[in-house]
Symmetry: C2
Subunit: 191 residues, 2 copies
């Protein structure tokens, strides 16, 4: 063995994940990451192009996990309404469990840090599928966008503690969600 320590890419990403979860994107510094790996900072550049590249990897992993959770929620047995509620809950729960990862995925983000378009597409695929059950394929994009806006807005405002005035803020959210679903049902889909 030519060197005392060899960096394994898995370790690198695991430690970066920990840093992100603990301290947010700002805490993911190349030097601190190197410190935790017991390695010099420049050596990281043999395994990662740049800090932005590393963050892009973390975004991709968070997006994949969120997509998986939404998918699971959308495929459970039950009516369309119950599954849409489940997907909304999964979205909120992911944000509550991993606020820093959630913020990184949806936060303002330099072009260099953008994940592949198809990753985002895959994450929203299940929402589009369940939406199509409700309003048909032609209007599924239209409806999914409205649902996503409501859920995302509620989640981010909740995460930013902007509902301090209203301790019972969940009630309004679930009511509004049902309203959108009611309207979609009324507009005549395939189910």
């Amino acid at each position: 063995m030519p060197h005392p320590t060899r960096i394994r890419r898995d370790d690198l990403l695991d430690r970066a994940f920990e840093l992100l979860s603990e301290e947010g994107a700002e805490g993911v510094s190349m030097r601190e990451l190197a410190r935790r790996l017991g390695v010099s900072a420049p050596s990281l550049y043999f395994h990662v192009e740049s800090r932005d590249d590393l963050l892009r990897e973390l975004i991709a992993s968070a997006l994949t996990e969120l997509g998986g959770r939404l998918d699971a929620a959308g495929q459970r047995t039950g009516g369309v309404r119950a599954r849409l509620r489940g997907m909304a809950r999964a979205y909120i729960e992911f944000a509550e469990e991993s606020p820093h990862r959630f913020a990184l995925v949806f936060g303002p983000c330099p072009v260099d840090r953008r994940p592949d378009d198809d990753l985002g597409a895959r994450a929203s695929e299940s929402l589009l599928r369940v939406s199509a059950e409700l309003v048909g394929p032609a209007r599924s994009l239209f409806f999914a966008e409205a649902l996503w806006s409501l859920v995302h807005g509620y989640t981010t405002l909740r995460l930013a503690e902007q509902f301090r005035l209203n301790p019972d803020h969940e009630a309004g959210f679930w009511y509004s969600l049902d309203l959108l679903i009611d309207a979609a049902e009324g507009s005549g889909g395939t189910v």
Copy 2:
């Protein structure tokens, strides 16, 4: 005059505003700010407690401006629906005009950087007032929260260019907004 240059607080805030507008919060560095003011970095600390303090000031100013715009839109003549639409448009327009300021206001934010609670309250006051016209004071908080979630979600996702798949994304938003207003009207308010 004991010194060649004296910092005026207005200048300091104006330059910081420019930096924020041009390059986002990350671009607002004490050293770059000092450079633009033709002054040493440490001297800034006689006019501002810390960088977080400065950013808090910028958040406050953005929040005040957004609040003012919402207020103006909410007080125009016209029906409740038209005014709510106007407020939504004002929200979106502010975010489009000042994306970095918008992101700073609603982005994840260390506790030290939080503006006064009553500033946020004042910004949402007009929304609550117009909501109360629609559903009465008892349910205005409930309804305002739903509206805000939808508008905020749509705005942030739009700013993050998450609607790339759907070039006609505005239509779905306005439709959903009307749906929420319809439901509120149906639920029996004072108007």
